[in-house]
Symmetry: C2
DNA sequence: ATTAATAGTTAAATGAATGAACTATTAATA
DNA sequence: TATTAATAGTTCATTCATTTAACTATTAAT
């Protein structure tokens, strides 16, 4: 990369990531039922996809302390969306799974989000989109790497 | 866009934006002083760039209600980073500006963030990066548009 | 057998967000 | 002009999200 161009590109990235984030999060919130937040939906999504996980897994995925996960899981557990099961081999470990209500709520909301994202991405040619996602993917690995080695 | 590919691309976008967001926000938080949060830095940044703005401007930019802005500005005002001035023509309006302390704190933190983002973006060839930012920019406009017409 | 480390929770404190009710001021209109 | 609308911002109560520090229980290491 040419040093002379760096500052402008960095500024542009900072501005765009802020703006896309805020606007995107706001639209995602609009798809939620009144009794759930976007973080709670992301939690349902992760557990749904991976079937079962531990609070420690979630803390790593969400980049927060485990006590933050305990608090969120408590709120979702009270609403009947999540189950806790102790590992019989290693009794320190807790497995989190979705209840039937959790699954069905997740699927309904995720469908609305898919619809929203589809309508966003429809504004792009397939090739441009694929190129974009390819670079986005690399960026994701770079960020994961920096986070891993810190 | 070919319908058959859509679902995969949508899934990929959802996963990447989540992951880049969480990892990115976590790294940005690491650049903050202990007495400030990333939202507070973003607020300093916006006011710094635009010199002066109203709470309503901030509410629009951050996509939150005005009462959320009042609360954040109060916290930053208590720390001596922000000034409030009433408009003499229209006495309903409040102008927010940075104090000298606010400016200097902003600049120190922003420098660390620039350094971080530079080291991230250094992993890309200039052309790939420019192409990426171009699409990211389009995406930003699409999101802003959807938000405007809702 | 004792000490370390790991998994998870609890509790107190702070920040961030909303909705509803409120003040003050300005704009619209009958 | 007098009354009514709308706008800008704040306050208050409530909920969610997060951190730090202290804690329990369990397993691993020496």
């Amino acid at each position: 990369m040419l040093p002379i161009e760096i500052k402008h590109l960095v500024d542009q990235y900072i501005e765009l990531s802020f703006s896309v984030n805020k606007n995107g999060e706001s639209l995602v919130r609009d798809q939620m039922n009144d009794d759930m937040t976007s973080d709670q939906h992301y939690t349902l999504r992760y557990i749904y996809q991976i079937k079962s996980c531990t609070p420690s897994d979630l803390a790593k995925k969400f980049q927060v302390k485990k006590s933050a996960i305990t608090a969120m899981i408590n709120r979702m557990w009270k609403k009947g969306w999540i189950q806790r099961t102790r590992d019989e081999k290693d009794r320190r470990v807790v497995y989190l799974t979705l209840t039937e209500e959790g699954k069905s709520l997740y699927m309904k909301t995720e469908e609305r989000i898919h619809h929203l994202v589809s309508s966003m991405l429809n504004n792009f040619e397939q090739e441009e989109l694929e190129q974009f996602l390819c670079t986005y993917q690399k960026l994701q690995r770079v960020l994961e790497d920096i986070n891993k080695h810190k």
